[in-house]
């Protein structure tokens, strides 16, 4: 009797493997410092959900409810997006709005991966529908909340793998991007110094989120959950009259939601959902999405540099894949490696935040056409 009530008698091999995955994520977060804010809750959630007899993720269990309340409804990723909006400074983008084109170009990673995910169906063992493929492709947007939001709408079964892939690759940006950036640019191109950005007035910063929202309302209502919350957060930050709300959105609230979002994502790391050949496909496709997005961003920046009267360093195109602010830091680092006096950080922030808008728009398009 007593033996039957211990977990030892009920462990299945799948659960043990998934617990090992959970410990692996904790290791990456604590020792390697990979996106610890998310990988710790996700890893721990994975441990909890795979405990036999505890039933964390079954009806009545804590993680089950957290998932139902926060992710199934899409509320958590949207609240996070509001906080991200309250932390984002669009100054660099408003000073040089053409950088939006780089944010657009890098989204090719998403759509190319969509194609790739469908093509993977030719391999026996893979059966991705168009919805699955869209949810996988958004990993290329390099934007955690967007990926989770879209996956919860289109392919809830794949959510665990998609979220883990999205956050892992965001952590791996400093490893994935530089070789691609160096391969596509010459030393002279990497040395290009860019003109200093003009200062941007508070008024412009206040009007910007309102303009983005208006455009979304007019042309892409399906993206308004994401873009709307993002712009709301940004307006709170820039208007300067609700500092209390803005501080809450970018600190306490986003932290609270992150804890629950991570646990809920972790609860999706159960053996039957995660230990499939599809997960391998998702991990592979995610890396490809990132690589293609980086490449098209850099190529677009080269193209723009040919037609622009102000010099454009093609490296900043790589920041178009959002992953704020990591991608911009990587650009800065690669730029400094070839020219120690060339600080590209501010210039890369423009395409970087443009990438956030770009991937939210891409998510809206996928929701409208596939969802």
């Amino acid at each position: 009797m007593l033996w039957d009530s211990t977990a030892l008698a009920h462990f299945e091999s799948g659960q043990l493997i998934m617990m090992a995955v959970g410990f692996g994520l904790l290791y990456l977060a604590i020792v390697k410092k990979f996106e610890p804010l998310l990988l710790i809750p996700i890893g721990f959630g994975a441990l909890l959900t795979n405990i036999p007899l505890a039933g964390f993720s079954e009806a009545g269990g804590l993680l089950h409810y957290i998932y139902e309340v926060g992710i199934d409804t899409g509320v958590f990723p949207l609240l996070i997006f509001m906080g991200v909006g309250a932390m984002t400074d669009f100054g660099a983008l408003i000073a040089n709005p053409r950088m939006l084109l780089l944010g657009a170009a890098a989204q090719f990673g998403i759509f190319a991966t969509l194609f790739g995910a469908i093509a993977l169906n030719l391999v026996p063992g893979f059966e991705f529908t168009l919805k699955d493929a869209s949810a996988i492709a958004i990993i290329g947007g390099a934007d955690g909340p967007t990926a989770i939001f879209l996956a919860s709408r289109l392919a809830p079964d794949l959510l665990g793998a998609i979220a883990v892939a999205a956050y892992s690759y965001m952590a791996l940006v400093p490893i994935i991007q530089p070789p691609i950036m160096r391969a596509l640019t010459s030393k002279e191109e990497r040395n290009i110094e860019m003109a200093q950005l003009r200062p941007v007035s508070t008024r412009e910063k206040i009007l910007f989120p309102l303009a983005v929202l208006s455009l979304t309302v007019l042309f892409l209502p399906s993206a308004t959950p994401l873009v709307g919350m993002f712009c709301f957060g940004n307006l709170m930050k820039e208007c300067g009259v609700v500092d209390r709300l803005s501080n809450t959105a970018q600190n306490e609230l986003i932290n609270t939601v992150t804890i629950f979002l991570g646990l809920a994502v972790g609860s999706k790391l159960s053996a039957d959902k995660f230990l499939t050949v599809e997960t391998l496909g998702i991990l592979g496709l995610g890396a490809i999405a990132f690589a293609i997005g980086t490449a098209t961003g850099v190529l677009m920046a080269k193209l723009m540099g040919k037609f622009s009267k102000d010099p454009i360093n093609p490296l900043i195109g790589a920041a178009g894949v959002s992953a704020v602010p990591m991608a911009a830091r990587v650009v800065n680092k690669v730029g400094l490696a070839s020219n120690p006096h060339n600080f590209l950080l501010m210039h890369a922030m423009g395409p970087n935040v443009a990438g956030v808008l770009g991937s939210a728009v891409a998510a809206g398009i996928l929701l409208a056409l596939v969802g």
Partner: protein
């Protein structure tokens, strides 16, 4: 999955890729125009600059201090704040 089913899905994914990229570029392209309009608007109607601190209150608070010194310090603080503004 059957070959024919995959082929039709691939066609669909291809058209989605085309439409999606065109739309992303069109949308963000419109936004470029939007930002340029905002900038024009802000340059055309410049709002009140940061309001200069009221001199009367400062003078009233420190009757024994030379007005010129107060003015110089005020100007310095103002410049400093402007320079350090986010």
């Amino acid at each position: 999955m059957e070959q024919s089913a995959v082929t039709s899905l691939l066609l669909e994914a291809g058209s989605l890729m085309l439409i999606g990229m065109l739309f992303v570029f069109a949308f963000l392209g419109l936004l470029i125009i939007g930002v340029q309009l905002i900038t024009k608007f802000c340059n055309a109607f410049e709002g009140d600059a940061v309001q200069p601190p009221t001199m009367s209150r400062l003078k009233a608070a420190q009757p024994g201090v030379d007005g010129n010194i107060v003015a110089a310090i005020t100007a310095a603080v103002h410049t400093h704040r402007q320079a350090n503004k986010k």
